[in-house]
Symmetry: C2
Subunit: 272 residues, 2 copies
Amino acid sequence: MEHIDYTPWYISPKTKCLLSDYETEPTSKGWRSGSELEEHLADMGDKLDKLQSTLHAAKTRGLLVVFQGMDTAGKDGVIRSVFSHVSPLGVRAEAFGVPTELESRHDFLWRIHAKAPARGEMVIFNRSHYEDVLVTRVRGWIDEETCQKRYNDILHFESLLQDAGISVLKCYLHISKSEQKKRLQSRLDDQRKHWKLQPSDFGDRDLWPQFTQAYEEALSATSTPESPWYVVPADSKPYRDSFVAGLIVQTLDNMKLKMPKPSFDLSKVKLS
Amino acid sequence: MEHIDYTPWYISPKTKCLLSDYETEPTSKGWRSGSELEEHLADMGDKLDKLQSTLHAAKTRGLLVVFQGMDTAGKDGVIRSVFSHVSPLGVRAEAFGVPTELESRHDFLWRIHAKAPARGEMVIFNRSHYEDVLVTRVRGWIDEETCQKRYNDILHFESLLQDAGISVLKCYLHISKSEQKKRLQSRLDDQRKHWKLQPSDFGDRDLWPQFTQAYEEALSATSTPESPWYVVPADSKPYRDSFVAGLIVQTLDNMKLKMPKPSFDLSKVKLS
């Protein structure tokens, strides 16, 4: 397989990251453009489909893909584009909203753990346990000390998954504030999307610097070689989709998955 | 929307059905062929996607689609083809295999009920509670009386879902014995599929008449206008996919779903 080096978008552990160092549009760092992106996505889609079949058959490893990002960053969009290449039987998508009354009476990882992939499974999180160190932090619902403790809880939780054969791949969908404006405007213009709009979609925008800082801290504190965070340039949708598909394919490819042997001697089968 | 009359493939309640009365290939009953099928599937895929969005937004109704059929009838295949048009966030696929030790210590509907759709959800069952009146019956693990009781349990269970706004649509994928032979042979020829093969895949074939009879009884006993069984001609994959997609679209269309109103006054929004 053609090798793409995703290192420039990987957040180094224990190094304070600055999101302003990362482009939201792919310009200087090289990569495809135009119709090449479509071809690449289709190609990665095929590979993803095959790798998922082997993951399912082998049952030795599992994969959790976490998507986070500001409102309108494209979490729903990237999930639709990338995973439409895989059978619904091969992928499970879990969305985490405001915790229910029962969920909020548990520790913050309880509802998350219940939805974790088993070996053989590929699971997508649309928002995740990271909300518990992001919106909670920005809104002042938890203090600095609790937040630091939670980073540690998250590191432990993800290494528990890793020890069970589950890889965790985390994508921060990185958009600019002006791109968000365009997208919010287009939601206001599209009547089919009105029901989904909340005052907070617009209010959170005023807290852009605070959210950026909370992300920078959380990403820096929880990116590890085993459970890496990548900053995905997400102003351009075709680029974003192609980037994410390639990243997931590479992650699965690195697992060196193998089809299991048949469970009995097939040469003895006689079809009547 | 163009109206297709699916009545010829609907199993009338309380009438003993004979599967030999139904074609496995679409010949005499009219319908599309060739590239028209592809176009129809793409068209239905688009409609399904839009209807699913509205189902999710409205949260007034839910849909459960059950797939049953002999080995190699195409359950996995139809799920992949039809639902690849919908975001993984909008559909949940559940496969039911041999019950676990815990599951078999519960009543047969326990594990099924736990996976039922909520209002707003579309769920696919790849095999289902119907296995508990099919393979169990053919293998003699349950007696006639238990089987009759279970038909009744199933009718009650599905009407419970119906009362909660969940429609149940049931598809029997109807293939001929000679088509099954071809498909089993092609699995023997494809090394990537070897791991999945079980001796029972070939042994069940010798029980074709017994399985057919068990299906005929179960389908007749549990088809109702609210939770209908359809016999899907499934020897041709493009026809099968197109048929099922159209049937699901029509079921959702009949719900007359409406987008909810926005939750606040959008005219007051000012984007900074």
